[in-house]
Subunit: 555 residues, 2 copies
């Protein structure tokens, strides 16, 4: 019966870190889990963020019944404004996650038009949508109010962990709900879709309480001001830092727009409860507080050049000037790819006299993701027929597969895919692996404008060897060259033995054009000839390939 | 007495990693220790390598008596071809280091003209040069034949560790010479100049023998071909891998030009002794060997895009196609900044079916540098009056200083500087901290051509928002515009609401030029006007700042 069929497709989350988006689909209905964005790598010039290609959902928009969000991080909610332009469906989430989504939609003036609904992980009755019944369960992660979903489908039960770890006594009091997970196991789950991104780390992720102890002792011994940088979304960490500050008679002040926004939402919804009098609401009021009575929380833990910590390190922040006696805590680990920027900031802070404490020196951060043994524990708890690791690059998925095999899962029950993979199930068995249209859309700065692959490539070429603007002036009637070709170079370096290479290239180009025998304006594409001649000549002479931008002026 | 004065200046090695170069100077004499290059960061577009600004040595070339090299790594010898253009002095080193230097000079046809001399760390008689007497002592590092130097100067004894660790039983049989170091302590050393770059790592660096055990067990269990990537200079590691291969009936073949060159030098000088029949000299002969009888050593452990391992991962290597059953060992840790490239290669290798073993999975690499406790042990052994940490970024120097204070060294005896710092000593006491001309010279690809700061900045701008080539054609006599301005864009994205912005910019430019009141060819710099008008207009419309390259054609 065709109605027993379930398709699970990934528009993000397989073979990459960031921009998670998965699609659960029967003949009549589609539900979406998460809608994240990703951040560009260093050589994606001028690209500000990455969203999944939504072609598949655009084509099937009429069947999309709902969107379920696991938690409020950018790589799970940041794509909602784009997704909601393609599909019209309610968005289910827990309360804090909803607050963060609403704030984000408000920025884009979309809040009024979106149907945001709450889902309660403490409720036993699932949400029924078309052929699906969806139950949320609490998971512990680096942001409060995170959940996973157990989705009853015509083909069987699918358990989606979302991002999780198993910290048994998290500081917000909400551990991962092992009870519920155990109960799912009784229903012979068809499929476990599991976080896998920290599979490389052996053992278990240390508890957040150890970070709290470590930061407490640093603050206790700090002679002057303390500046702590962390992720704007680390609400539990921020709560703990407020408690620590209060314990040591310090007031807390927050810097950085994203941090201030998140703190405002969390305060409104009761997810942050600063001790009485601990929080200075207006940063300007912090100036009146003695340095050793102050703790500043700020953004920039990833070395982002425009964030508060970078500006402090550069001496460019209006309110905070760092000096001898200050203690800076970088309460985050560099996300791979950000190491150079993070260490540049740390070096600069040291050079200004601050004592800088970062992960190499003390346990001032732990990941929100499960390490090897926790991932294994989750798998052994749920006992699914199939397991599908997600939220990781190729190596994480492969290492997860090895772990799963080590626990006795047969290789053919471990599903590995990449972006666009679609796994189909029928009668409790996987029937096929196909694919759906997928990819990454590059978005540029400050706008919703897409940047084509070609543009990024052009920028990469421009960055490598620079550019030559070449102008030919020809007589409209005779086709004769009216002047020497004009060459302007930017970002191009000819090399020591090629000091006159541009001059020579000009002559060479003229000679080729003159000897061409026929008149230039009759040539099909004179621009093409110019580019070809110059590219060849310059590479032969200099081993470089500057971009050649020709213009032919006919007068 | 002015002749008692000693100046120690740094043209590299302080406040940065890479391009080590220090200058020891009395009134009449200068000796140089090391002449390294550095490698560019990601946003130094088109820059291939970095050398120290040699202005100071150029000005004082007549007093330079000798150059001493500690070991054969690029960040210690790579700058020699440039330094030797500025100063004419003999280069002292141990035998393997000399072999590597000679090979490097030969590539540049400089070998014949340079006076290369051997220094023997087992010799007790120091080399006397002007007012200096220099004694070499063995240190253990990740390349054989590494030494540090003890330099007797008019102001006192200066001990320079070079790059070192204290592995008590290194696989090449040559530990750091603690005996000699202890004997220096008896002469009340004035100054210890110490490696500091691994100060962040607690404890001691694990012994190389643990890496050997770990690789041995991987090779023992590998079902098919083994491919091992490591630094081309890791001669001891390469020797051990040859031994391991032989133990498991595998033959070894080397891929990658720098690796093959270093292996050739090490073989010639007897620093590599492959077991009988273990080494396949010609890579082409490897095709005849069964995969499970083969071990390939190759370059590319840092994810360098043109190196062997990257090309294998991309499926672009002519001789090695990786597949299921192959085992790849990345026997190196990513140098900070290279993480993204390294993990990209590892992901690609996994995707091709290989099992990839890298530092997160097994101990397949250890650093050549001393960790915290070893640095402390060195300091306590030498008991200098002053200590000067080097070979590190600001944070390493600062953390070294904290370690030194913890061992009881007074803060004023711990010398921290940055590139260009010059410390002066007189009568056994530091008398001043000054500075000498210093900086970094960028070199481009394949040549010795310098790249100016401005060029790198231009490339950064090109990469960010692209470029517009703008052509104005005006009548030479009347100054009238003869056609609409012509605009060609590359790497520029106008944004969603600015689809026609280039067209509009053209009109705007024309209108401004027409309304200007006076004729264009009489304007002092028509190019400047074009640039100014377009930059302003495009920023207002698109919030972007493409580079504008104007050309004015007069006909």
């Amino acid at each position: 019966m065709v109605n027993d069929r379930l398709h699970v497709a990934f528009l993000g989350g397989l073979g990459e870190v960031g921009k998670n988006l998965m699609v659960l689909e029967t003949t009549d209905d589609i539900i979406i889990v998460d809608a994240g964005i990703g951040f560009p790598e260093e050589d994606m010039f001028g690209v500000n963020l990455l969203i999944p290609d939504l072609t598949y959902l655009r084509r099937n928009a009429s069947r999309v019944r709902a969107i379920f969000i696991t938690h409020g991080h950018e790589d799970h909610i940041g794509g909602l404004p784009y997704l909601l332009q393609e599909v019209d469906a309610p968005v289910y989430s827990t309360r804090l996650t909803q607050g963060l989504i609403r704030a984000r939609l408000k920025e884009r003036k979309l809040a009024a038009s979106v149907d945001l609904r709450l889902i309660d992980p403490d409720e036993d009755e699932p949400v029924r949508i078309g052929s699906f019944a969806i139950d949320a369960f609490r998971v512990c992660h680096s942001i409060p109010d995170a959940v996973g979903y157990a989705v009853q489908t015509p083909a069987g039960l699918v358990v989606i962990t979302g991002d999780f770890k198993l910290d048994p006594a998290p500081v917000d009091g909400h551990p991962t709900d092992l009870e519920k997970l155990r109960s799912y196991a009784d229903h012979n789950p068809l499929l476990l879709i599991s976080d896998s991104v920290h599979i490389e780390t052996p053992g278990v992720t240390p508890p957040e309480s150890m970070v709290v102890e470590s930061i407490d002792s640093i603050v206790a011994n700090a002679p002057g001001r303390v500046i702590l940088a962390t992720f704007a979304s680390s609400i539990s960490r921020i709560q703990q830092v407020m408690n620590i500050a209060h314990r040591h008679q310090r007031k807390v002040v927050c810097y950085g727009r994203s941090l201030q926004n998140n703190v405002r939402v969390a305060l409104e919804l009761g997810y942050l409860e600063p001790p009485e009098g601990a929080l200075i609401k207006k940063p300007a009021d912090a100036a009146a507080v003695a340095p050793n009575k102050l703790l500043c929380i700020c953004t920039g833990s990833q070395g982002e050049p425009m964030a508060v910590l970078s500006r402090i390190a550069q001496g460019e922040h209006h309110e905070i000037e760092v000096h001898e006696g200050d203690t800076v805590i970088v309460s985050a680990s560099p996300i791979p790819g950000n190491e150079t920027s993070v260490y540049r900031v740390i070096n600069d802070l040291f050079s200004r006299g601050a004592d800088v404490i970062y992960s190499a020196r003390a346990l001032v951060h732990v990941s929100g993701h499960a390490s090897h043994d926790e991932l294994r524990q989750m798998l052994e708890l749920v006992k699914p027929r199939y397991v599908l690791p997600t939220h990781g690059e190729a190596r994480h998925l492969q290492l997860y597969a090895r772990m799963a095999q080590a626990t006795g899962v047969q290789a053919e029950r471990i599903l590995l895919g990449r972006i666009g993979s679609q796994f189909s199930f029928e009668d409790g068995v996987m029937s096929a692996i196909g694919s759906v249209p997928s990819g990454t859309v590059y978005l540029g700065q400050g706008t919703t404008g897409e940047i084509a692959d070609g543009t990024v490539l052009e920028r990469r070429l421009l960055a490598r060897d620079g550019v030559l603007s070449v102008v030919l002036t020809i007589d409209r009637r005779s086709g004769d060259l009216l002047a020497e070709p004009d060459i302007e170079a930017r970002g191009f370096v000819p090399g020591p033995r090629n000091g006159h290479v541009l001059e020579e290239a000009r002559h060479h180009l003229r000679d080729v054009l003159m000897s061409n025998g026929h008149r230039l304006h009759e040539t099909e594409r004179p621009e093409r000839i110019v580019r070809h001649v110059l590219e060849q000549y310059l590479f032969a002479q200099t081993k470089r390939r500057p971009m050649v931008v020709p213009t032919v002026v006919e007068v």
